[in-house]
């Protein structure tokens, strides 16, 4: 039987939904699922992981070095516990992308990036060329399978079951001192997280100026939606980089995605392919975004967005 270790992503005492998405992928592989939670000692996050559907155990590794998720400090701790598993999975977020290859190198194992679909326990589909091709790849020996999981392809498992036992163990290995956290500069708004939100509205070059982003935000607040942006809007300095949706930004799969003033460059489309319904608002009828939009409105967003705010 497969024994699958899923590495939890969390911050500020809250389990990131990317973890529940990775657990969904683990369930598709099939086997006994353990979630590894690396903390400084507080058990809140481990308790959240213990309630995820399909999880049979939670291994909490405590170490003072886990105050922030630093790959150089976490990979050696995971190396200690990886033996005995058939699979180790992590979300394909910046957290998992940073950590997993380092762990793979310590284990002298290859790694699969960005699992979209599971064919069998060692065979997976993953995107290449910015999602313009899909490869089916196989870990074709009998060694440990290491992989990151594409969040947008896996709806999160729910928090339903009675929590399973959390096994706490203190990691007393010496961790390197060569990597130190200095600061995190992030937007701490009231809006939902871009990668977890069911609804997202993004603004692009068509907004014309930073102050017009307020039009997008007004609709977002009416809908309870997260706010995103195209690369053009980020590069213009209108919004911070963590709002960027697309191949080089965030890849998302909300139920509803509204693109306002976004032409639909291939890089942007790569980030929204898995969205449920795509709505495009753009005054250029030839914008490529309309080729993928489920509902298109050719109009000036400076009129449409205030009208939507009014009517929704």
């Amino acid at each position: 039987m497969n024994k699958i270790l899923v590495i939890a992503e969390h911050a500020n005492g809250v389990l990131n939904s990317s973890t529940a998405r990775a657990v969904a992928c683990a369930a598709a592989i099939g086997g006994e699922i353990t979630v590894a939670v690396l903390t400084t000692g507080s058990c809140d996050v481990a308790a959240q992981a213990a309630g995820l559907e399909g999880v049979v155990s939670v291994a909490e590794l405590t170490n003072p070095g886990n105050a922030q998720a630093l790959a150089a400090l976490q990979a050696p701790q995971l190396l200690e516990i990886s033996a005995g598993y058939t699979h180790v999975l992590a979300p394909n977020s910046t957290f998992g992308k940073d950590l997993m290859p380092r762990l793979a190198a310590l284990l002298d194992r290859p790694m699969v990036t960005d699992i979209m679909a599971v064919q069998d326990a060692r065979t997976f589909d993953r995107p290449v060329y910015a999602g313009n091709a899909i490869t089916t790849v196989q870990v074709d020996d009998d060694g440990l399978v290491l992989a990151t999981v594409r969040g947008a392809s896996w709806p999160p498992v729910v928090q339903t079951q009675a929590p399973v036992t959390v096994e706490c163990q203190t990691s007393d290995i010496d961790l390197p001192a060569h990597t130190r956290f200095v600061a995190l500069d992030g937007e701490q708004g009231d809006r939902p997280d871009l990668q977890a939100a069911e609804k997202v509205i993004s603004g692009g070059r068509g907004l014309g100026a930073a102050e017009h982003f307020a039009l997008v935000e007004a609709v977002a607040d009416k809908l309870g939606a997260a706010v995103g942006a195209s690369r053009a809007a980020v590069d213009s300095g209108w919004v911070p980089n963590d709002l960027q949706v697309g191949q080089t930004g965030k890849i998302i799969a909300p139920d509803l995605y509204i693109a306002a003033g976004i032409s639909g460059a291939i890089q942007h489309l790569a980030g929204i392919k898995d969205a449920g319904t795509i709505v495009a608002i753009n005054k250029d009828p030839d914008a490529p975004i309309f080729e993928v939009a489920d509902i298109g409105l050719v109009a000036d967003l400076h009129e449409v967005l205030p009208a939507l705010t009014e009517m929704l």
């Binding site: 790694m111 990036t113 290449v128 200095v182 911070p240 509902i295 939507l308």
Partner: protein, 248 residues
């Protein structure tokens, strides 16, 4: 401070990717190849460090066939001092690439390795982290800002939650994200000058690196395409449509 920078030759980012009908891969015949854009950013950063007097020497390295010499010449034209090609016609996956780079690091003893965060062909995003792991060095991935101060570097990283700043001891591996810099255009005299810069070719077999476990690609397919849906004529019609579909 010596800086080693890795460059990969990939299908040009402007190419429209065509999946071969037999599922064996993507069409590369008659397709333009260029330096991986993230690697171009890494080369630019290394050269800027040299221009700022922080780096003494920039060595560009690549792994692959003879055509990779063109990619290395581009790095030399941008301003790298010398180039090294590890020649092989085999497919090199990230773990093997990291082992080759580790071997070169041990020979060249750089204080900083700059690599693109991912190649735009396989989108693996693994080699820099694997190299750092193999070397036991610090890693600062997805860098949007790099400041060298003596034996440490302050690196700002583009992470999902925003911008994270790390302080790492050198030597270290840094992987470049899109906003680290804007690479310069190569001018004709630079191309001429690059022709006279040293480019050494080493056969991969001569490095005596044991083969690693690898991942087999069984097939390549085209992604499912989304189809255009309906057009509505007004904001009112849009709201009505969203309500009809229970989306708002």
């Amino acid at each position: 401070m010596k800086v080693l920078v890795g460059v990969k030759r990939v299908v040009d980012f402007n190419t429209r990717i065509q999946v071969k009908s037999d599922g064996s891969g993507v069409q590369t015949d008659g397709v333009k190849f260029s330096m991986n854009p993230f690697d171009e950013i890494a080369v630019e950063e290394a050269i800027r460090l040299k221009e700022a007097g922080l780096a003494t020497e920039v060595i560009a390295v690549s792994i692959g066939g003879d055509k990779n010499q063109d990619t290395l010449r581009s790095a030399l034209a941008m301003g790298a001092d010398s180039a090294l090609l590890v020649k092989t016609d085999d497919e090199i996956q990230p773990l093997m690439a990291a082992k080759i780079l580790k071997n070169l690091v041990e020979q060249q003893q750089p204080k900083l390795v700059l690599l693109g965060k991912q190649a735009i062909d396989d989108d693996a995003n693994q080699t820099p982290q694997m190299l750092a792991g193999l070397l036991g060095w610090p890693q600062a991935t997805f860098a949007s800002k790099l400041e060298i101060d003596g034996d440490t570097a302050a690196v700002t990283r583009e992470v999902d939650a925003g911008l994270e700043t790390l302080s790492v001891d050198l030597p270290a591996v840094v992987s470049s994200d899109l906003r680290l810099n804007e690479p310069r255009y190569i001018k004709l005299p630079d191309i001429m000058k690059a022709k006279r810069k040293p480019l050494e070719v080493i056969d991969l077999a001569d490095l005596n690196i044991a083969a690693s476990a690898s991942i087999a690609t069984l097939k390549t397919s085209a992604p499912p395409q989304r189809q255009a849906g309906i057009k509505v004529e007004s904001s009112e019609a849009l709201v009505a449509e969203l309500k009809a579909r229970n989306l708002v």
